[in-house]
């Protein structure tokens, strides 16, 4: 509880005790002096003053600032109206009830703020900086510089991103990736800030300043997520702008038009005398009911809160959603386009065979020299299969031919490594290979030398994830790959995908995504999921870009709208479910709040609903909506 909340609570209790003592006392005839109207007025003015003083002052402030559609002003007018028509207990009770509602609302919001904060409690408090004297001292993480050496003791949070130079441990990455199995960490490994060290003592070289470290980026993203407002939120804001003035004007009309009409109606003999019962006072009383209901707070508070909770729940699962608007889009996802390598498959390429087998060493040597300067994962697997040092001085030139392969000159000889297109273009006779894997043909000085087959395994959870996405409402799952037709199609068939586009050049992907998007109607959304390395244009083009397995990769975090911190495909159906639940909670709140308000407005106009019902329609509904919103935080 904040100071303000404690102060308010004390006032409410004191006022409530006074109110109920006199209210009950009067009803059982304990206080005969209350028959005097003035004394009765003063008695009920006391609790009204205790809880209502700030409200009335706020109303006066509102008048001074010419902001009369202010909730406090409306409550003040409504209660003064009740006093004026002689309903003293009602006036005091409405103010009391209103304060209780406001207090509960403030308390519930505070509580949800805290639970969201706890969820994001990944910020490290300090770093143990190792000084030149060999001693460590605790410093603020932002004081640590790149290249500094820090020590991480067992159980401590990793303060900045760095590389382990000494020590072994198990790292709890749950707060960052949502993954509950600890990762083993040894010298040479990268460690990510926000993770919690296990049993070992680690000596770590700092690679990034705190502001550039993963944890700072995540906190920044989540904090700013609520600034990208969803359509639902925008609708509510617009609605709130017009709702209050309309209801207030309605109240004014209700107070004066019907009594005037009835007056003339009776005078002309159209209406019976009894229609005028209650007169002007009765209509002012009904108008006051209107004023109480006119605050849009329940809506304005509960919809953003639902989204905030949904984003919180997603980040708990290791998925960063960069804005409420993206969470909304995820809930409407109908088509998911996926990259293959590194997303559906492990992206760990291994040389599975070399043909002809007897020339294995020679072919691998040529390929390793040829691909020496390439960063492509395929080059890495060739180099690791060769497993001998490459003398880079022998490489005279090396050229990457996009979508084809590599041309290099090594010790005066031209080496070509690549696919069938590369061989055909250079008019090299080769033995085509239909193996389901990535095939690299190797040629030296125009002569075909042999074939290397590299294959990549499908991720264990991929099949389950695909069916989970389908049951979460994604109709089409489509794969894009630069791989050959038979490789791509065998993966697509195994996973049960809708369709696979194969043999694509990197530039083709955007065009296909645009074409697919054209087939969807406006309410159906298209998502693209990739590993974020070469996908930035597609990630940006799709309605929603999802980057995977990108812990620590700045480029992916920046390009995507949704970032999955670990490599697990199951996070996608999970975050879609969270998004759906959040959307439905937000809609429930809208329908409930608007529905109750409209019903009470109608009943109020007919004279059936009294002030009590009106206060419930205002603060009670807010409170229930806040509680309902909190469910989105607990989505799994």
């Amino acid at each position: 509880m904040t100071k303000k909340q404690k102060r308010e609570l004390k006032r409410i209790i004191v006022a409530a005790v006074i109110f109920f003592v006199f209210m009950i006392g009067e009803n059982i005839g304990l206080f005969p002096f209350m028959e005097n109207s003035l004394i009765r007025f003063i008695i009920f003015l006391i609790p009204y003053y205790i809880v209502g003083r700030d409200v009335v002052l706020g109303a006066l402030h509102g008048i001074k600032e010419r902001d009369i559609f202010d909730e406090e002003f409306l409550m003040t007018v409504a209660t003064i109206g009740a006093f004026a028509v002689g309903e003293y207990p009602e006036a005091a009770a409405v103010m009391l009830f209103y304060s209780v509602g406001e207090w509960f609302q403030s308390y519930a919001v505070g509580k949800s703020r805290r639970s969201i904060k706890e969820l994001m409690d990944i910020a490290p408090e300090y770093a143990n900086l190792l000084g030149e004297d060999g001693l460590t001292r605790e410093v603020d993480p932002s004081e640590v510089k790149v290249g500094d050496i820090i020590m991480i003791k067992p159980g401590e949070k990793v303060p900045v991103d760095g590389e382990v130079i000494d020590g072994k441990s198990m790292m709890d990455t749950k707060a960052i990736t949502g993954e509950s199995v600890p990762r083993s960490t040894k010298p040479g490994d990268m460690i990510i800030s926000g993770c919690i060290n296990g049993e070992g003592l680690l000596k770590v070289k700092v690679l990034k300043k705190y502001e550039d470290s993963t944890v700072a980026k995540i906190l920044d993203l989540v904090e700013n997520a609520s600034s990208k407002k969803s359509r639902t939120e925008k609708f509510i804001t617009r609605f709130a702008r017009v709702y209050t003035p309309i209801v207030v004007i309605g109240a004014v009309i209700l107070a004066f038009v019907p009594p005037v009409l009835i007056y003339f109606g009776v005078a002309e003999g159209v209406l019976p005398e009894s229609a005028a019962a209650g007169g002007l006072l009765e209509w002012i009383r009904r108008a006051c009911t209107f004023l109480v209901i006119s605050c849009p707070c329940a809506l304005v508070i509960s919809v953003p809160l639902s989204f905030f909770g949904g984003i919180g729940a997603a980040s708990k699962a290791g998925v960063l959603v960069k804005g409420s608007n993206y969470l909304e889009t995820l809930g409407e996802l109908k088509m998911l386009v996926s990259d293959k390598t590194g997303t559906l498959t492990k992206g760990e390429f291994k040389v599975s065979s070399v043909m002809p087998e007897e020339n294995r060493d020679e072919i691998l040597r040529l390929a390793a020299y040829g691909e020496s300067f390439s960063n492509h994962p395929i080059a890495g697997s060739v180099k690791s299969a060769y497993n001998k040092p490459v003398d880079e001085k022998l490489i005279e030139s090396s050229e990457n031919i996009s979508g084809h392969g590599i041309r290099a000159v090594v010790s005066g000889k031209e080496i070509l490594c690549g696919n069938d297109k590369l061989m055909r273009e250079n008019k090299i006779e080769f033995t085509p290979c239909d193996n389901a894997g990535t095939v690299i043909y190797v040629a030296e000085d125009g002569k075909f030398k042999g074939t290397i087959i590299i294959s990549d395994a499908i991720k264990e959870e991929a099949k389950e994830a695909v069916s989970a996405m389908k049951s979460a409402g994604v109709r089409d799952i489509i794969m894009l790959t630069g791989d050959r037709k038979n490789v791509g199609e065998s993966v697509a068939a195994e996973l049960g995908l809708t369709r696979a586009y194969t043999e694509l050049l990197p530039g083709d992907k955007v065009g296909i995504v645009e074409e697919l998007e054209g087939k969807l109607n406006a309410k159906e959304k298209l998502g693209f999921v990739g590993d974020g390395i070469n996908d930035a244009p597609v990630l940006a083009r799709a309605d929603i870009g999802i980057a995977m397995g990108s812990m620590g990769s700045d480029a992916a975090i920046e390009a995507a709208d949704v970032v999955i911190m670990d490599d697990n495909l199951m996070r996608i159906p999970q975050v879609i479910r969270i998004a759906r639940k959040t959307l439905s909670i937000a809609k429930q709140n809208i329908v409930f709040a608007i529905g109750v308000k409209i019903v009470v407005l109608i009943l109020g106009a007919l004279g059936i609903a009294n002030m009590w019902a009106a206060v419930f329609a205002d603060t009670g509904v807010s409170f229930i909506c806040v509680l309902n919103s909190m469910r989105s935080l607990k989505s799994k």
């Binding site: 303000k4 953003p304 905030f308």
Partner: protein
Amino acid sequence: MKKKFNLEDLDCANCARKMEDAIRKIDGVNDINISFMAQKLTIDADDDRFDEIMKEVVKACKKVEPDCNILM
């Protein structure tokens, strides 16, 4: 220049919306966002007049909700 401030005793979501509207009208403010949940005010305003603008921002917030403080 973009800067972030914490807010204290921001109790009403509708007030946060009104504050946003009021601040947006201040000359020199490029972008403003008040997160009711995070109780944070993020402002992007002209560098050379930043302090001056912030004074107006505080005034605008006080107008809407006298209880709410911007922690600087």
